[in-house]
C-alpha cells in the first residue's frame, strides 16, 4: 500500500478553517468539498481522511461522494478551464463542430489539459443558455452564440 500523501502545514490550517466554518451544518459534505476545491483548485487526496474524520464517515464514503460528482477534481486544472456545452439545444446549432474545432486547436480531448498547463477542456451538459447557443464558459465567464472565431480569440489570449 502506498504511503498516504500529506498536506502542508498551511494547507492543513486552511482545511481546518473550512471544516470549522461548516460545523453544525445539515448535510455539510458538498459545501465542504466545494470550499476545499475553491481554496486548493482541487480536492487533494490527503484532505479526504481529514474531512471523513470530521464528518464521522469512513474514508471510503468520503471518496465515494467526491468521485460521484463531475465537478470535483483530484488533480489541479489548467490555468483556464474551458467548458463547452454538449447538450441537445446547443447541438442543434452546431456545438459538435465547435467542439471538434476546440479539440483540434488545443490538441486535447475532453477532460484533458494542454501540456503547458494552460487550458483544460471540459464538457458541460447545459449552462441554461439554450436560446443563444452554442454556449461556453471560460473560467466562470459565460459566452453565448460561441463560434470558432470567438473561441479562437479566447484561446489565443490564454495560451
Amino acid at each position: 500500500m502506498s504511503a498516504t500523501p500529506s498536506l502542508g502545514t498551511a494547507q492543513e490550517q486552511t482545511l481546518h478553517e473550512i471544516l470549522e466554518a461548516h460545523r453544525g451544518m445539515e448535510g455539510a459534505l458538498l459545501p465542504i468539498l466545494h470550499a476545499v476545491q475553491a481554496a486548493f483548485g482541487h480536492v487533494p487526496e490527503a484532505a479526504l481522511p481529514v474531512i471523513a474524520q470530521d464528518q464521522a464517515i469512513s474514508r471510503a464514503e468520503a471518496h465515494g461522494v467526491m468521485s460521484f460528482y463531475h465537478d470535483f477534481r483530484s488533480e489541479p486544472a489548467g490555468r483556464t478551464v474551458l467548458k463547452l456545452c454538449r447538450a441537445e439545444a446547443c447541438q442543434s446549432v452546431g456545438a459538435d463542430a465547435l467542439a471538434d474545432h476546440a479539440r483540434g486547436k488545443l490538441g486535447i480531448d475532453w477532460h484533458e489539459t494542454t501540456a503547458n498547463g494552460a487550458v483544460t477542456l471540459e464538457p458541460v451538459f447545459c449552462l441554461g443558455l439554450c436560446a443563444c447557443g452554442p454556449a461556453a464558459m471560460v473560467n466562470g465567464k459565460l459566452v453565448g452564440r460561441a463560434d470558432a472565431a470567438k473561441l479562437d480569440a479566447i484561446l489565443d489570449e490564454v495560451r
Binding site: 448535510g27 470535483f72 441537445e88 442543434s92 447545459c126 449552462l127 443558455l129 439554450c130 436560446a131
Partner: protein, 508 residues
C-alpha cells in the same frame, strides 16, 4: 435618465455587461444623471442584450445592443436604429399571460420595495390570515401541478406533509435545472428571486416547515449569487426569520450548490446529495413527503411550482384555475431553444398547439431551413415531427402521443439534424449521468450506445434489440433517467425511420 440592462445570464453571455459599462461611460461623458437598473430578462433572448429606457408612455426597448450602439441612445432615442418601440406592445410580450413571470424583467430583482410595488408579498400576507389547511386547499383547488415535469398535484403533496407528524419538516426547492432547453428556473432565480422565497415561505406555513433549501446547479453562478443576496434582503426585512412578517411563523432558508450531477434533479437523488451523500436514487416508497431530507417530512417542489404559489394565494385559486385546458390548469413557462428564430421564455396558458409555439411564436428555425424535429421536455423527452404539430400543449395530450412536456423546454432542430446521432447521444448521456443504482439504466444505456452503433453500421438485426432494450429500461428503471431515455430514442426511431435505414441501405 432611467435605463434597464439585464443581469440575466443569457444577456450577459451576449455582452450585457459591456453594454452596461458603455452606458455608464457615455452618461459620465455627457454629464447625464443616470439610474441604471440591472433587471431580469424579458425573455426575448434573440434581442439580448435588450436595453430599455423609461419614458412617461412606458419603457422603450432597444436591441440587440452592442456597445457601439450606446451613444445614439442619448441622442434621439426614437430614431435609434435598434429601436423596437414600447416593450409591452411587442407581439412577444402582448401575447403572453405572465403570472409566474409577471415581475421578471420589470423590477429590480433585489429591491423589496420594487417587489411590493408590483404585488409582491400580497400572497404571503393573505396566507398569514389563513389556516395551514386553507392554504393547502387553495393550492389544491388552483390545479397547480409539479412544473419540474412529473406533473403531480402540488396541493396533494403539501397535504401529505401537513398531515405528517414530526418535530422538523422541510421545504426543498428543486432548482437543479439540468435539462437542455430549459432555463426558466434560472431566469426566475436571477430576475425575481424574491418570488421563489415568498413561495417557499408560504409552503412552510402551509405544511408546518421552518427550514428551506434551494438546491441549484454549479453551472448557474449568477443565479446562486442572486438568490443568496435575495435571501439576505428578505432576512433583513423580516420576510425570513423567527417571526415571518411579525407573525408566529418561523421560516429560514439557504442555497445549496450541486456538483455537476444531472441525476440530482431527481428528487430522491437530490435529497441524498443535500444530505452530503452520493446522488444515488432512493426507492419509493417511502415518499419524500413522509421521509425526505434527513428522514423528515419534506416538500420537494420545482422552482416554477413554488414561484407560482404567491400569485395563486394573491389572486385566488379560481383565478389561476381559470387558465388552461383539460386537467392542465394555469400557465406554463415555455422555453424556446436550439435552432429557433425567436428563442426565449414565453409564459402562456396550457393549450397552445406545438405548431403555434414553434412556428408562430418561435418563427421557425434560425437557419431558415425546414423544421425537422422538436424535442419537448429536455433530454428525456420525445422528438416530435411536424406531423404532430397539432398536439395541444398539455400533460395529457403529450402523454397520449408517447411524449411528455417535462419542464416545457423545446429544442427546435432543422433538417440537418441526424436523428440516429441524437438517439445515440440520448443513450450516451444516460450512461454518463446514470447514478448506477439500477441495472436497466447503468448497463442498459451502455448497451444502447453499442446497439445504435450496430444500427449505424447497417446491422438490420439491431433495431428489434434496441426496441426490446428500451422496453426493459422503461419498465425496469428506478427513476426517470433510465425510465425516460427511451422517449428520445424510440421517438427518433418511430418518426424518423429514414435516418435509421440509411446505413442499412448503404451496407446492402
Amino acid at each position: 435618465m432611467k435605463l434597464y440592462v439585464p443581469m440575466d445570464s443569457a444577456a450577459v453571455a451576449l455582452g450585457a455587461d459591456d453594454v452596461a459599462a458603455a452606458i455608464r461611460a457615455e452618461a459620465d461623458k455627457r454629464g447625464v444623471a443616470l439610474t441604471l437598473v440591472r433587471n431580469g430578462s424579458r425573455g426575448m433572448v434573440w434581442l439580448e442584450p435588450l436595453v430599455e429606457i423609461e419614458t412617461d408612455a412606458g419603457r422603450l426597448a432597444f436591441g440587440p445592443m452592442d456597445p457601439a450602439d450606446v451613444p445614439a441612445l442619448f441622442d434621439d432615442a426614437a430614431a435609434h436604429p435598434k429601436a423596437l418601440g414600447l416593450t409591452d406592445k411587442l407581439p412577444w410580450m402582448a401575447r403572453q399571460t405572465r403570472l409566474t413571470f409577471a415581475r421578471v424583467g420589470l423590477t429590480d430583482p433585489l429591491s423589496l420595495d420594487d417587489y411590493q410595488a408590483h404585488g409582491g408579498l400580497n400572497g404571503l400576507k393573505r396566507a398569514l390570515t389563513m389556516t395551514p389547511a386553507q392554504v393547502v386547499q387553495d393550492v389544491t383547488a388552483s390545479g397547480l401541478r409539479g412544473r419540474g415535469g412529473a406533473g403531480f398535484p402540488t396541493g396533494i403533496k403539501w397535504k401529505t406533509v401537513l398531515d405528517a407528524r414530526a418535530a422538523q419538516k422541510y421545504i426543498v426547492c428543486n432548482a437543479d435545472e439540468g435539462d437542455s432547453a430549459t432555463f426558466a428556473d434560472r431566469m426566475l432565480m436571477e430576475g425575481d428571486p424574491l418570488t421563489l422565497i415568498e413561495g417557499m415561505v408560504i409552503a412552510g406555513i402551509a405544511v408546518g416547515a421552518t427550514r428551506g433549501y434551494v438546491y441549484t446547479r454549479s453551472e448557474y453562478p449568477v443565479a446562486i449569487d442572486q438568490k443568496r443576496q435575495a435571501i439576505a434582503v428578505a432576512r433583513a426585512a423580516g420576510v425570513l426569520g423567527a417571526r415571518v412578517l411579525g407573525s408566529d411563523h418561523a421560516f429560514d432558508m439557504e442555497v445549496r450548490v450541486g456538483a455537476g450531477a444531472y441525476v440530482c434533479g431527481e428528487e430522491t437523488s437530490l435529497l441524498n446529495s443535500l444530505e452530503g451523500k452520493r446522488g444515488v436514487v432512493r426507492a419509493k416508497p417511502p415518499l419524500p413527503a413522509l421521509e425526505g431530507f434527513l428522514g423528515q417530512p419534506t416538500v420537494v417542489n420545482n422552482v416554477i411550482s413554488l414561484a407560482s404559489v404567491p400569485v395563486i394565494l394573491d389572486k385566488g385559486a379560481a383565478f389561476y384555475q381559470d387558465f388552461g385546458l383539460g386537467r392542465s390548469r394555469g400557465t406554463m413557462a415555455l422555453q424556446l431553444a436550439g435552432n429557433v428564430r425567436r428563442g426565449g421564455l414565453f409564459e402562456a396558458a396550457f393549450g397552445l398547439t406545438l405548431g403555434e409555439i414553434v412556428n408562430d411564436i418561435g418563427g421557425g428555425t434560425a437557419t431558415g431551413r425546414p423544421v425537422k424535429a422538436v424535442q419537448v421536455g429536455g433530454p428525456l423527452g420525445a422528438w416530435f415531427p411536424p406531423a404532430l404539430f397539432d398536439t395541444p400543449f398539455t400533460y395529457e395530450d403529450f402523454a397520449a402521443k408517447d411524449g411528455l412536456i417535462g419542464h416545457a423546454g423545446l429544442t427546435v432542430a432543422d433538417d440537418s439534424l441526424d436523428m440516429l446521432a441524437m438517439a445515440r447521444f440520448a443513450m450516451e448521456f444516460c450512461a454518463i449521468e446514470s447514478c448506477g443504482k439500477c441495472t436497466p439504466c447503468r448497463i442498459g444505456a451502455v448497451r444502447g450506445v453499442e446497439t445504435l452503433d450496430r444500427v449505424a453500421a447497417g446491422d438490420a438485426s439491431a433495431l428489434p434489440l434496441l426496441t426490446d432494450l428500451c422496453t426493459t429500461m422503461k419498465a425496469g428503471s428506478l427513476c426517470a433517467l433510465g425510465g425516460f431515455t427511451p422517449y428520445p430514442v424510440m421517438s427518433a426511431v418511430t418518426h424518423f425511420p429514414d435516418d435509421f435505414a440509411r446505413a442499412r441501405e448503404a451496407a446492402e
